[in-house]
Symmetry: none
Subunit: 199 residues, 4 copies
DNA sequence: TATGAATGAGCCTTCATTCAT
DNA sequence: CATGAATGAAGGCTCATTCAT
């Protein structure tokens, strides 16, 4: 939303949840476009068609916005991933698991600059609602796999972090230098050597 | 070095390499203590017993300092790691490789806050002298292993990045929540399942 | 407005045109008082009873302020000069022209240090809105004179610059060493020998 | 003189007048090249093949250098102009005068950016050795002309300033927008209408 | 006389956050 | 709820000048 358009706009009175969501979605765009280092509060409100002060009616600080953006992003992802995996796993855990891994890599690649804002940056240490934590998600998949006998019996929580890191590194690499196929092959090579129950 | 002490100090004229090193070492301390986000140019010069302007005789910008810190850190590490691995690998590649992995994890854990400043942060994308790049180092070890037949024939560059990421994640986890033994076990479990030549 | 007073002041919310004008007028005072070389952004905002940051809501840089000050000064001058000359010229071009020349000299003398800031200094090369350019004004007067036959047929644009320079030099001289009458006499002597149509 | 060359140079012990002149001449080049606003002490010493501190052995401050540069420039000019005019004036004052005016315009045009540094800028108000003052020079010429009856009897000092200003303005105009012939014509038109004794 | 490392005051500019309307 | 003008702390960087060698 450019400034010219804004100048023509009236004061828009929206219900709080709607306004909040508009700000978050505007932030998604701004963080992608300008990058997390250059993004400013005013960029977000401008993109959302709101006044600068309005920001602070919905978020106590810039970091709080980032937390909300992260939550929005992950909960959206989880909402579609969870039922999809559940359905697929019933007919073959490993296939379903691999599929989700590939899917997650694509998701992270698609985030572009955004992923720095939510996975690194100032909120990297802030606790994440377990319901949408990537680690927990992966841990859940591993647990299913171990219980069904399709996966080796690994230390679930630690392994989940390692899986996450492997997926994440693969995504970063693809985003930086491309060469998607080779990187995915290496990743799958690792996962297949490491996780499936032998035999 | 507090400001009060500074007021009492004479002008210290040092040779450029020495002054530069003092600034880098002061930066190591400051980045650890205040964290990479809060550290400022003046913190570094104060800690180094130098005037603010002196900083800019040696570094064109804050980011340039970070690059120098990174180079200092890695080249120091590499200088001792390379001969050590070379010697150890001759009597058993896998043992030597595992040892270096564990050693590197400890190194990263020891960096504490510093590792954010040099591995993430604004210089994350800046090219690194290949001679001291962690990826290249690991790639070198893998190559030796593959050539000697001790390691599976993996895609070296991609695998090196994955190894690095696994070590790094393990170190981060230990730094955050402790539980060193369990995390190292998981890491080794992964590496042993993935890399050694079967049989 | 001293800092102590400022501390007691409330936040003054003004409409942008008003605040902008207050800043410009504060700048007029500061440039006169401290001189163009020593004047700083903070002097202006302090004199205007505003916070330092407010400056940058209205001017992108110090030079932009100078441009605005120049425009303010000249357009104010032009607004009263133009109708005055028009009226006077109808009953006698040369008398009207001489009067405006004398008037302009007094105006420049009255600027004091200010004239360095707007006529020399870093914005000397910046283009000026032709509607308020001194050269254009003078050229306009000359054109009227030539058309009415009261003035010799000179190269208008070039002559206008020379007239301006003569007025300006006279003003500078008066500002520096006084002796107003003698300098004005010399100036008029030059103009009378040069411009009026002989006979 | 580039830095590389400097690195190869020994400490050069020169007689003070020579070193001083080298600095002044280096300054001439630097002021032309970088412009008076951007020129720095270090640029001058570097161009002169001297160390930064050496500057202050010869000039108390940056402004003092500018004064010295101005004196150098003008005294060089005067040294050749004075005898030339003296010789030419004996056979025809007006022709000699016009010739010197044109010559001076070319001189100022040739100064380029330099003229800002010496005629405007921070030393504009500093007194000038009368022996090399442009105003005095011109006044000298006018006096000769008046005494010989070739020039109208004008107020010498004031008129000299006006002549200087007219020459200077013409030079500035040529430097900025070219069109040399037309501007010189206008200038001569003014001078011829103003100064020669009628008849 | 010469060097060049060191100093530190000074200034601009940004931008998260506040608050009068 | 909304606005957007105002704030001011913060910090990067420059460069004339000094001084230990």
């Amino acid at each position: 939303m450019a400034k010219k358009e804004k100048a023509l706009m009236k004061r828009r009175r929206l219900s709080p949840p709607v306004r909040r969501l508009e700000l978050i979605e505007a932030a998604l765009g701004v963080l992608r476009t300008r990058g997390p280092a250059a993004a400013r509060v005013e960029d977000v409100t401008e993109a959302a068609g709101a006044a600068k002060g309005t920001f602070y009616l919905y978020f106590a600080s810039w970091e709080d916005l980032l937390v909300a953006v992260r939550a929005h992003l992950l909960s959206t992802y989880v909402a579609e991933m969870r039922p999809r995996f559940k359905a697929a796993a019933s007919s073959g855990w490993w296939t379903a698991f691999e599929y989700e891994c590939l899917h997650f890599v694509d998701f992270v690649v698609g985030l572009g600059e955004l992923h720095k804002a939510v996975f690194h940056g100032p909120i990297a240490d802030r606790p994440l609602d377990p319901a949408i934590s990537s680690d927990r998600l992966i841990a859940g998949m591993l647990r299913t796999g171990i219980e069904s006998g399709a996966c080796r019996s690994v230390e679930i929580d630690t392994a989940a972090r390692l899986v996450f890191s492997v997926l994440h590194t693969t995504a970063d690499g693809i985003a930086q230098t491309g060469d998607r196929e080779r990187k995915l092959d290496s990743m799958l090579d690792l996962l297949r050597a490491w996780l499936p129950r032998p035999g």
